[in-house]
């Protein structure tokens, strides 16, 4: 018996195109940041890590936040598409989270004098990342699709609390981590050239997120269709 993978293949095709466009946009953003964006007066060249770290952090938090939203909706509607999306977004969030959690310490070392500090912002971000590693491990450990979706959704819900809390930690606790310079009530506090490079990076990371999620969703759908065909 042959399985009709056409819908999954169409999604994977679209995902591949978006991923390639996202990578080109990321590469263009890196070139702009390195070659055409002025050097910051006090931090020197290390400040340019900002254009790698912040877009990755943005995409990771968006990915984890959307897992929370999809999880809440899944528990309400029990639509398998929401579970499939949550699984895709969680994995992509871990990919962006890996970039965030490696480039952060590389930036911290020359500026703070230490690779890591156990303050609230950094600790909670690491906790969120580990939570999603656990989320992925849980998903791979449960065979029954409905059970897996329900248990995962309960864990995924936690990001609805953690993501806004992590954003607020710089206001609520003493921390070495700088406060937001764009996502804040007043106007962004960056010179225009730096702001454009940052916004380009955030846009590129968002596009890459969309490509990764579309492709990963298509893979998840294809795997389910193949599994259904095998079970008859």
């Amino acid at each position: 018996m042959t399985t009709d993978l056409a819908p999954a293949r169409a999604l994977m095709r679209r995902g591949r195109v978006l991923v390639i466009l996202g990578l080109v946009a990321i590469g263009t953003g890196y070139a702009r940041a390195l070659l055409y964006t002025p050097e910051e007066a006090r931090q020197g060249l290390a400040q340019k890590i900002f254009y790698v770290h912040v877009p990755a952090a943005w995409a990771a938090m968006m990915a984890f936040g959307l897992v929370g939203v999809a999880s809440a909706l899944y528990l309400w509607l029990e639509d398998p598409r929401l579970d499939r999306f949550a699984a895709a977004s969680a994995e992509v969030g871990v990919a962006f989270g890996s970039v965030m959690l490696t480039t952060g310490p590389i930036w911290a070392k020359p500026i703070w004098g230490t690779w890591w500090t156990w303050d609230m912002r950094l600790s909670m971000t690491l906790l969120l990342y580990l939570l999603f590693l656990g989320y992925m491990a849980l998903r791979s450990a449960i065979d029954d699709r409905n059970e897996r979706a329900r248990y995962s959704a309960v864990i995924g819900l936690m990001s609805l609390v953690l993501v806004p809390f992590i954003h607020l930690t710089v206001y609520l606790f003493r921390t070495l981590h700088p406060q937001p310079i764009v996502l804040k009530p007043s106007a962004p506090s960056l010179p225009p050239e730096m702001l454009i490079s940052l916004l380009w990076g955030v846009g590129a990371a968002s596009l890459l997120y969309l490509g990764f999620v579309t492709l990963r969703y298509g893979i998840g759908l294809a795997q389910e269709l193949l599994e259904d065909a095998r079970r008859g």
Partner: protein
């Protein structure tokens, strides 16, 4: 003679961050593309 403010020499950290980020994105892209190719052939 007044001291001249010099920019810190930390370009190596910048290069390391850009290289690490690029490697992560490329590895994840290759992994997803390979998985997509595998499931398209009907393998799980």
């Amino acid at each position: 003679m007044p001291a001249v403010d010099e920019l810190p020499q930390n370009g190596g950290y910048m290069v390391a961050a850009y290289v690490v980020a690029s490697i992560f994105y490329l590895i994840y892209t290759i992994a997803l593309f390979r998985r997509a190719a595998r499931v398209s052939r009907g393998e799980r």
